[in-house]
């Protein structure tokens, strides 16, 4: 069965998507009509967001295509072990208050807008540290925006089909997102996030319910799941990638890194009160984790039953398909656990990165089968919710990137005397330039066999989080310890970022994909999370230089 054989949704997706995009642009215009003069209003909506808006915008920024496509894709590929990654969400929730409230208080007192404002005012480093913090913001935001645009393309190609559906979807998502951020700033971003957050929470739970219902209800679902290959039901998963130690470091640094990235940091500044962040922390912890555990993770697990990745052999073991030199080759479970790259079921896709499509395929085929015309409508709405997840993360990151590059680099270093009006226009220019850059990267990656910096959605997201995790040591020092030195902070961040870069595709591009260095870092990646490796080096260097500096 190919994609064309899936349920035809007719023109319904066209109408729903058009209505949704028009609504977003309307919110953008509404945000513009409510604007007040000044940077603080454009970037932080006047620091007046209440608990409902704060919780929804923080959740929508956290939710991305990684949550809606990448997480079920990973469960579909690796099995139930990846569902436990959802346990990073309560830690993120707790950080909304523990870190967020202190950031909010300092921001309000001193008029901070970006992360660099707070960190640099503490260490008294107007240039070097500011550049580094801005660079981290850039390295987090650009890959994250790239993968959201890619997700928009995937959804469009699944929803509409046709030769250029991917390109049209990616361009449409980018253009509409860019427009409403440029028009209305934080107020528009937060209100569109509120709409998108509501839509995608409902979408996540509905997707899980669809997967369970497609297999005949909860009892039948888990009875069929129990027959999956042993590696799908145990640790370290199908390919042997997720040892408990790796999963542990991934959860810790995934949670902390995604909560101190610039877009979330600015949401803490924008919160009206401690109460707003306190309530947001609880809503985030209870609601979002449930959406993962009882929603999208079940789609991945049900996907393994509906679209098996492995075929049972006569001796009771399972056989997988892997891609070697462009050809599909059958291998045993044991061979796969040594780090092979399995292929999904042919109905899902033909390449190793097509696991991410499981969510859309399950929704598009099984909801209409179960519920008829209502199912058609619900499938369309949930698929649009996935697009909402991509757009809400892209808008927050583009908006934060605009603040970081304009305030920290343009006004902080290049033109300190620039007027507020010129800064706002530069900020809008940054949004347009970053959107076009991200869109260009998506198309280059898609059109080239040899250059593929994006790969699957989830690994790319984790690399971006690893970069933002390099702000953790200085953030904890600024907020709690207050013992580090400026030199220690600078050298620590540089060391941490270099370590993370070693894990990126850059190393393979520079040294060749079969070099010893690439092999070494690939082995390290099997043991622990990339962010953890970077932070371990970062903290050690930061502490050492701070201690040496104080003794001298």
């Amino acid at each position: 069965m190919d994609t064309a054989a899936t349920t035809d949704l007719g023109l319904l997706p066209h109408y729903c998507l058009a209505g949704y995009l028009l609504l977003l642009l309307g919110i953008g215009l509404w945000g513009f009509s409510k604007r007040q003069a000044g940077e603080e209003d454009y970037y932080l909506a006047g620091r007046g967001q209440g608990w409902m808006l704060s919780s929804l915008t923080i959740m929508a920024t956290f939710f991305s295509s990684a949550a809606m496509l990448g997480a079920p894709g990973m469960v579909y590929k690796e099995g139930v072990v990846f569902a436990l990654f959802a346990l990073n969400v309560p830690l993120s929730g707790a950080m909304i208050y523990v870190l967020g409230n202190r950031i909010r208080e300092l921001g309000r007192t001193h008029g901070h807008v970006t992360p660099a404002d707070l960190i640099c005012s503490h260490y008294g480093s107007p240039v070097a540290l500011r550049c580094l913090v801005a660079l981290i913001g850039f390295l987090y935001a650009v890959p994250y925006v790239v993968i959201q645009i890619q997700a928009g393309g995937i959804i469009s190609s699944q929803l509409f089909g046709g030769e250029h559906a991917f390109e049209i979807g990616a361009c449409l998502l980018s253009l509409v997102t860019m427009l409403y951020i440029m028009i209305g700033g934080m107020r528009s971003v937060a209100w569109t996030d509120a709409l998108q957050g509501t839509l995608l929470m409902g979408g996540m739970l509905l997707a899980g319910a669809a997967a369970v219902a497609a297999l005949g209800g909860p009892s039948a679902f888990f009875a069929k799941v129990a027959e999956l290959p042993r590696t799908s039901l145990t640790v370290p998963g199908t390919t042997g990638s997720f040892t408990p130690e790796k999963l542990f470091t991934l959860c810790i640094f995934g949670a902390l890194g995604s909560m101190i990235q610039p877009a979330q940091w600015m949401r803490f500044y924008a919160a009206k009160s401690a109460k707003a962040l306190r309530r947001s922390a609880v809503i985030f912890t209870l609601g979002l984790t449930a959406c993962f555990l009882f929603g999208v993770m079940l789609v991945g697990l049900g996907g393994q039953v509906l679209y098996p990745v492995a075929k049972p052999s006569a001796d009771g073991t399972f056989e997988y398909q892997v891609q070697i030199d462009g050809q599909a080759v059958a291998v045993s479970e044991a061979d796969l656990a040594d780090g092979g790259k399995p292929l999904p079921h042919p109905d899902i896709g033909a390449g190793p990165r097509d696991f991410d499509k499981i969510m859309v395929v399950v929704l598009k085929r099984h909801l209409p089968e179960l519920l008829g015309p209502t199912g058609l409508l619900l499938a369309t709405l949930v698929i649009i919710a996935i697009m909402a997840a991509a757009m809400s993360t892209a808008d927050s990151n583009l908006h934060a990137l605009s603040a970081v590059l304009t305030r920290d680099i343009y006004a902080g270093i290049l033109r300190p005397n620039a007027s507020e009006k010129s800064r706002l226009w530069v900020g809008r220019g940054v949004i347009a330039a970053a959107t076009l850059l991200a869109l260009g990267m998506v198309f280059v990656s898609r059109g080239s066999e040899s250059f593929d910096p994006i790969g699957m959605i989830m690994p790319m997201s984790l690399l971006a989080i690893a970069f933002s995790s390099q702000l953790l040591p200085v953030t904890f020092d600024v907020l709690f310890l207050k013992r580090g030195s400026r030199q220690g902070a600078i050298v620590g961040i540089v060391a941490g970022m270099l370590v993370v870069l070693m894990f990126s595709p850059l190393l393979a591009i520079v040294t060749g994909s079969d070099s010893a260095a690439v092999g070494l870092f690939a082995r390290l990646k099997q043991i622990a999370d990339i962010g953890f490796c970077g932070v371990a080096v970062n903290v050690s260097v930061f502490a050492l230089i701070s201690i040496i500096g104080k003794r001298n």
């Binding site: 436990l84 830690l91 042993r230 408990p244 959860c251 609880v282």
Partner: protein, 85 residues
């Protein structure tokens, strides 16, 4: 000294440490090395992969999610409250 309403800071500090310890335990046990305690051996019978009909490591995750959620709700109702504006 017994914690009373008159010395909330000390009481909250103690409660904060307890909550931190429980949350850290949940992180270590849920998605961390504690998983090895329940992860079935490669040679174990197929029934040992399940607990109450659910994959055992999924059930393990749900339990520790409950612990994490309880810690955050308790912190919200107790130690985080006094700093409200």
């Amino acid at each position: 000294m017994e914690p009373t309403a008159a010395n909330p800071t000390k009481r909250h500090r103690r409660l904060g440490l307890v909550l931190f310890a429980v949350f850290a335990l949940a992180m270590v046990m849920g998605p961390g090395p504690g998983l090895r305690l329940v992860n079935p051996e490669p040679t174990a019978a197929r029934e040992s992969l399940l607990f109450l009909g659910l994959p055992v490591i999924y059930a393990w995750g749900l339990f520790w999610y409950g612990v994490q959620a309880a810690v955050v709700v308790t912190a919200c109702l107790t130690i985080w409250k006094p700093s409200d504006d």
